[in-house]
């Protein structure tokens, strides 16, 4: 191997020059202001995707918000966040003060085009974020969220509205709760997206046998964890065949092999969410494991792997 370990893990995406491709998924890591940050240095991360921001504060859904299934977790938090202004005034400055070098991707949610655009404008104008992740795929809110991510016309329009005002690259986060995810990915591309992130959670439900009622107060929730990984792999593979945008992959990743599988499916970076609940040290672990796993599978560098996979897709 001729490349250094650092060169082997580095990846470049629009707005993101990452020393490694690994980042916490939105909603699983708050704004970096959680106790995981006491257990490992967040400077080890490739980047951080912070919790969804909306124009106004949101209290989210009632409890219980969390349930479990074999190999996965159902959540219905409902985009609880203090609103974009508090995030800009308190959360982001605290994060930037502690980790000035850590690239930040801000997740943007809303109920209509105008508030998506205004939230995106404020975040991108702040100079504190390197990219936006446009959340058109949250399954746990009644208005907005997933309705934009399940209709190509809406997906294109909201992407275009946000692109018009954003000074930083925009990654559109896709919902798997659609018949044809390629159509939505193409709509996001037509709206001017700089990249995609996929997949958000799958809509699921559990019932309590004693009460005969849903376990989650919201009724339904979003399924994440290893149970959905093969769906994410399939969708990333399909989208990367038809759309040339870089993809931040998420959906059940819990180890270095999973990361390599996502790259082989068509990813250019990865986010990990649910796995941290089981293993609080999953981030430093997978970053440390990657070089050896790459060697095991004859991968010299991740950037080389991305180029190789994408060139094969283009031939199809």
């Amino acid at each position: 191997m001729s490349q250094t370990s650092e060169q082997r893990l580095a990846v470049k995406l629009p707005g993101l020059n990452l020393k490694n491709p690994v980042m916490p998924a939105s909603g699983c890591f708050a704004f970096g202001d959680n106790r995981y940050a006491e257990m490992f240095d967040l400077n080890q991360l490739g980047a951080i995707i912070i919790k969804a921001a909306t124009l106004e504060p949101r209290v989210g859904n009632p409890m219980p918000r969390i349930a479990e299934v074999p190999g996965g977790v159902l959540n219905a938090v409902g985009l609880q966040n203090p609103g974009v202004d508090v995030i800009l005034k308190e959360k982001l400055p605290q994060l930037k003060a502690k980790y000035p070098e850590l690239p930040v991707i801000a997740n943007v949610a809303g109920t209509q085009e105008a508030d998506y655009a205004e939230t995106a404008r404020r975040l991108s104008d702040s100079g504190m974020v390197d990219a936006l992740e446009l959340n058109i795929s949250c399954p746990n809110v009644k208005q907005g969220g997933m309705q934009f991510g399940t209709d190509p016309v809406s997906a294109q329009a909201v992407t275009a509205a946000v692109k018009k005002v954003s000074r930083v690259p925009v990654y559109v986060k896709l919902s798997p709760n659609v018949t044809d995810i390629v159509a939505i990915a193409q709509a996001a591309a037509a709206g001017g997206a700089d990249g995609l992130s996929m997949i958000n959670t799958l809509l699921g439900m559990r019932l309590d046998l004693k009460t005969r009622q849903p376990v989650l107060a919201n009724g339904t929730g979003g399924l994440s964890g290893p149970a959905i990984k093969s769906i994410a792999v399939r969708m990333i593979y399909q989208v990367s065949q038809k759309v040339d945008l870089p993809i931040i992959a998420m959906g059940g990743i819990s180890n270095a092999e999973d990361i390599l599988e996502m790259f082989m499916a068509g990813a250019s970076a990865v986010a990990i969410g649910t796995a941290i609940f089981h293993d609080p040290l999953v981030f430093p672990k997978v970053i440390a494991d990657l070089p050896q796993k790459m060697t095991d599978f004859n991968i010299e560098s991740l950037s080389g792997l991305i180029a190789e996979v994408r060139s094969q897709r283009n031939e199809n």
């Binding site: 190999g71 938090v77 089981h278």
Partner: protein
């Protein structure tokens, strides 16, 4: 600082039909395992992604010994109950704020109120406060005699007041009955852990009193680390503004909205 440690299961004991006690041994001394704090236990089968939040029932920090008492309520806790001596568990701890015991001194009178799976953290607290020289009265409620566990700890730490719904042990009634008869004069602090109804009864009973009343809340949790917003509670007039796992699980009865 929380850490993940491997613990050896030294003893698994069935206390009642569905309540179990695990005695665990760490390789090194434990730090910060204070009364009212909790740990997140990984279910060692690869299927359950979420760790289970369990209160510390007893600990010997210097010796690395930890005891957890839990009720089997679902697949995860059933997996824990099936573990046998010699198996290893991954435990994240210690988490949460713990009971505020700093101001208590020898001779202070305290009241503990518990029921069901709320008893384990109070068992640790009773021992801890008795060692401090506090005069500890504990009110405990069960549905029936066969569900009783932990009472010998409370009896050893001070005075035990026992109630069962069917009168098969102690007085017939519940902790509400005991609370109504309690003389709150000279009581310096109250601690409670148990079902929502019990916590509400304690909150109401002492609403007009000035002594600190601390309630330990139970909740489903995702992370236990203040990251996932899966266990929020309304405190001090806010709406779902605090994490039970991080700012709690112990909250002032005067501030928390149940």
């Amino acid at each position: 600082m929380p850490s993940v440690k491997k613990f050896l299961l030294v003893k698994q004991q069935r206390l009642t039909n569905d309540v179990f006690q695990m005695d665990l041994q760490a390789a090194a001394p434990l730090v910060g395992y204070l009364p009212g704090r909790f740990v997140m236990v990984a279910i060692p089968n690869g299927l359950q992604q979420l760790r289970r939040p369990l209160a510390i029932a007893a600990v010997d920090e210097a010796a690395g010994k930890l005891s957890l008492i839990y009720r089997v309520v679902g697949q995860g806790t059933a997996q824990l109950a099936a573990l046998t001596t010699g198996e290893q568990l991954s435990i994240l701890g210690a988490l949460g704020n713990g009971f505020a015991t700093q101001k208590l001194v020898s001779g202070d009178r305290v009241l503990l109120v518990g029921g069901g799976t709320g008893l384990p953290p109070l068992m640790y607290l009773a021992r801890f406060l008795a060692q401090k020289g506090c005069s500890v009265t504990t009110m405990v409620g069960f549905r029936t005699q066969t569900q009783i566990f932990g009472t010998q700890v409370f009896a050893a730490a001070g005075k035990l007041q026992l109630a069962t719904d069917d009168g098969s042990a102690g007085i017939q009634g519940n902790v509400g009955t005991l609370l109504a008869a309690f003389n709150a004069t000279d009581c310096q602090q109250v601690f409670a852990c148990g079902p929502l109804g019990l916590l509400k009864a304690v909150q109401q009973r002492f609403a007009k009193q000035t002594m600190p009343v601390e309630l330990s809340l139970e909740s489903r949790m995702g992370c236990g680390m203040g990251a996932c917003a899966g266990c929020m509670v309304s405190v001090g007039g806010g709406t779902l503004n605090q994490h039970i796992c991080q700012e709690g699980p112990i909250f002032s009865a005067a501030e928390v909205q149940l």
